[in-house]
Symmetry: C2
Subunit: 150 residues, 2 copies
Amino acid sequence: MGKEEAGGYPSLIEDSGLASTPARAQVLEILANSQSPLTAREIHATLARTQAVDRTTVYRSLDVFVEAGLAERITSGDRAFRYGMGRRSLHARHPHFFCRQCGDMECLSAGAVELRMEDFVRTFAGLVERVEVRMDGICKNCLRRGGAGK
Amino acid sequence: MGKEEAGGYPSLIEDSGLASTPARAQVLEILANSQSPLTAREIHATLARTQAVDRTTVYRSLDVFVEAGLAERITSGDRAFRYGMGRRSLHARHPHFFCRQCGDMECLSAGAVELRMEDFVRTFAGLVERVEVRMDGICKNCLRRGGAGK
DNA sequence: TGACCGATGCAACCAAGTTGCATAGATTGC
DNA sequence: GCAATCTATGCAACTTGGTTGCATCGGTCA
Ligand SMILES: [Mn+2]
Ligand SMILES: [Mn+2]
Ligand SMILES: [Zn+2]
Ligand SMILES: [Zn+2]
């Protein structure tokens, strides 16, 4: 699934100035292979199927990845952050959809929405580092099995 | 500061099919008078200056307001939701800016960004109920006193 | 008047994430 | 090669933001 060039995730991690460890490489691989952004809990659950890693290590790996731009922290409509590949990992920015019924989040194509903000950024007194566009609603699965009821 | 027509917040609440109580009216008034979206904690702190209300009541008031469209729940870059006036309270949708340094959130003018998503919404299999646009970065105050260092 | 219903308070609980500290494993200096 | 030095990890305790169960209280209505 995830195509990786020579060296794979370890070298991607090292190219960002971080030490590569088995746990970190696996966390990044899980992120890279996912169609949708994942919670730390989901990442840990996947990881734990093959090796025993503490959840703290997952949290800390994600933190350093986000700091280094390797991963992106995405807010959702619920109380848990999601993580996806970051811009430093050949990943284009794109909006997301959050289903308030089942809690699933999906990546939308980068061109799904057109966002123009250059004029604003130019005149804004603060520093804009990133933008998040998220649509909330009911996903098609939840629509099929039961309507938009809370 | 907050201009209110005859009846004020109590009737605004009742017009949404909810019972108006002193606590609810005050929560809504605090929201209406704020320049920026507030956390439940901030609302409770403000409220507590004039009367003893349990934080649970604040949470529950906000829940029913959001459900009724009187208030809007907004995600930020940190772990706490913010609340602002909702669309059913004569409030236009607009983007927000979140400062990752001081945690302050500010409302941006509705025209700050141009967002085109009709084409997407028309062809999307799910139901899109709302959209959130949030910029993250460093606010001008934090820029002045110390740069963008974390 | 009395049954009812919803809003509130309060305590317990929960989920997500963070922190302190000890250890193990790798890296560096010599 | 060996010791001094990081640093990633594990594990437990803690924090924060929010939710839930349950008892009570105050209106509304037959
Ligand atoms: Mn994505
Ligand atoms: Mn706002
Ligand atoms: Zn769904
Ligand atoms: Zn700031």
